[in-house]
Symmetry: C2
Subunit: 328 residues, 2 copies
Amino acid sequence: MTEPSLAQRLLNGDRRALARAITLVEDNRPEGWDLVREVYPHTGRAEVVGFTGPPGVGKSTLIGALTKARRQAGRTVGVLSIDPSSPFTHGALLGDRIRLSEHFLDQGVFIRSMANRGALGGLSEAALQAALLLDAAGRQDVFVETVGVGQAEIDIIDHADTIVLVLMPGSGDSIQALKAGVMEIPDVIVVNKADHPLTDTMIREIRGVLSLANVDRTAEEVRGSWRVPIIKTEATLGHGIDELVDSLREHRAHILAAGQLQERRRRNLHNEVLAIATARMRRRLEQDLQKDDEFKRLLAEVVERRLDPASAASTLLERAALRGQPVG
Amino acid sequence: MTEPSLAQRLLNGDRRALARAITLVEDNRPEGWDLVREVYPHTGRAEVVGFTGPPGVGKSTLIGALTKARRQAGRTVGVLSIDPSSPFTHGALLGDRIRLSEHFLDQGVFIRSMANRGALGGLSEAALQAALLLDAAGRQDVFVETVGVGQAEIDIIDHADTIVLVLMPGSGDSIQALKAGVMEIPDVIVVNKADHPLTDTMIREIRGVLSLANVDRTAEEVRGSWRVPIIKTEATLGHGIDELVDSLREHRAHILAAGQLQERRRRNLHNEVLAIATARMRRRLEQDLQKDDEFKRLLAEVVERRLDPASAASTLLERAALRGQPVG
């Protein structure tokens, strides 16, 4: 009898195979990409929920409580936590992991952090692959968590079926970002740490932003569209988690009924193909340029203000094309 | 006598020529790029300061007050305000413009908003070109403002010589983002609306974050490096503006003395050349794919889970290379 392949073990839900597979993808190893290719036909079954919001609002605790609820309902869970790159975040992340630690021994829960190495684009690419691996390994619920308060963070979890924005009383910057349209309106908004006296004030503010967002829509669009629920939670006590579970279920039912789930996935996969292609083109270009004396000369001219950046970029691209080189 | 060219008029500081030139760049017109190429040798003289921070903290008011101070010192000023793309921001932006309106009739001040059309990458590219045009037109101070609280927003103003983060009491999300390393430490931090009772609490929090940021540095690095000042302002009353002017001057003197200004500009121009090249490659790829039946077929396979996104991206790039096509 031959030993089962990594792909076979992954598809059987083997946790060690899953961990190994994600490492391969995270390290951008060819075997990782081969593996995703092999198991991809087995994906598309997981319900993928993305969580974003500023650091410190309790996203990990919330995901921990949600995981507990989903486990009690008999579902298997995968959690993918996207860490920022700073050298001085160790404390915060360790704290987050401790909050999830009650699940470490549960075979039905798989938790993985991915570090942001370099550009967000690259991490986003790796995170999608990892989410596909969790899906292929039979995780029924996949929770992807990203830390941040801008559009870039929403882009990372854009391939989720449902996007949850987690705030807490005092998240003034995020409310302003929603209001100013810097951040897109998510599918579900959670106000965690809702024991705070300013919770209701904050919920009123959020409602104001949401009604403002409807101003530019026709009455028909508003009627036909999803009404973003605002859920109050106290994740440390497990309060509000049932309501969150209900909202996630309702959102899923809504996008299924409206035919939006397929449309969303189609759009996200389209964007993902382009994002991977662009990231590879850029990586290739950067690699080529490292050993390229002509590029150094061009750059020196730019620095000396003799050649403008756009013309230097054109010259680079022309040369890459002349070399007949696959720029990607 | 022949009429002076647009470039000549721009270099003479003609405001209408400047407005026209920025529109050409914003619309991604070839004449815009030609113009930047022509005037680029006359750039590098302006002092470029980038302002970022959540919406609603009073960045425009602060820039208005700073502009007044710089005008009184006899300097010419250009302001470039990068607007987010949302359809429901009209109110906020109109408010911002009103705050700057006292300068509208001053020939020494040029104010321009640029809209975020599509990807941040594309806007970032156009914003740099616009900043170069302001520089070439002889604006001595160029202030670039972006709205947002993530790394993407800092990327937009990354070509500034000095980066100012503007907060207000209640900017809890931003403090957390700094703490978690989601956002890089800027050169100067302003706490605006400093008449708020929680101002000093907030300044203590910021100091805590900054001292944490120093933990991973050697003593020598800390001694040799710039100590980020925290400036309290009440921009509507003009309070704290002199201190901000002093801090900007000190930062400039510091990076000049340490040889960092040249190094910063070199690094930023390097990144800019790559960013422009990548943006063009992506645009070209997207254009090609719009009329490409083979891409539609590939994408359908991805949606049907028969071909994974990364393999589809590889196929696309191989085909582009086979066509011998300049992918950029």
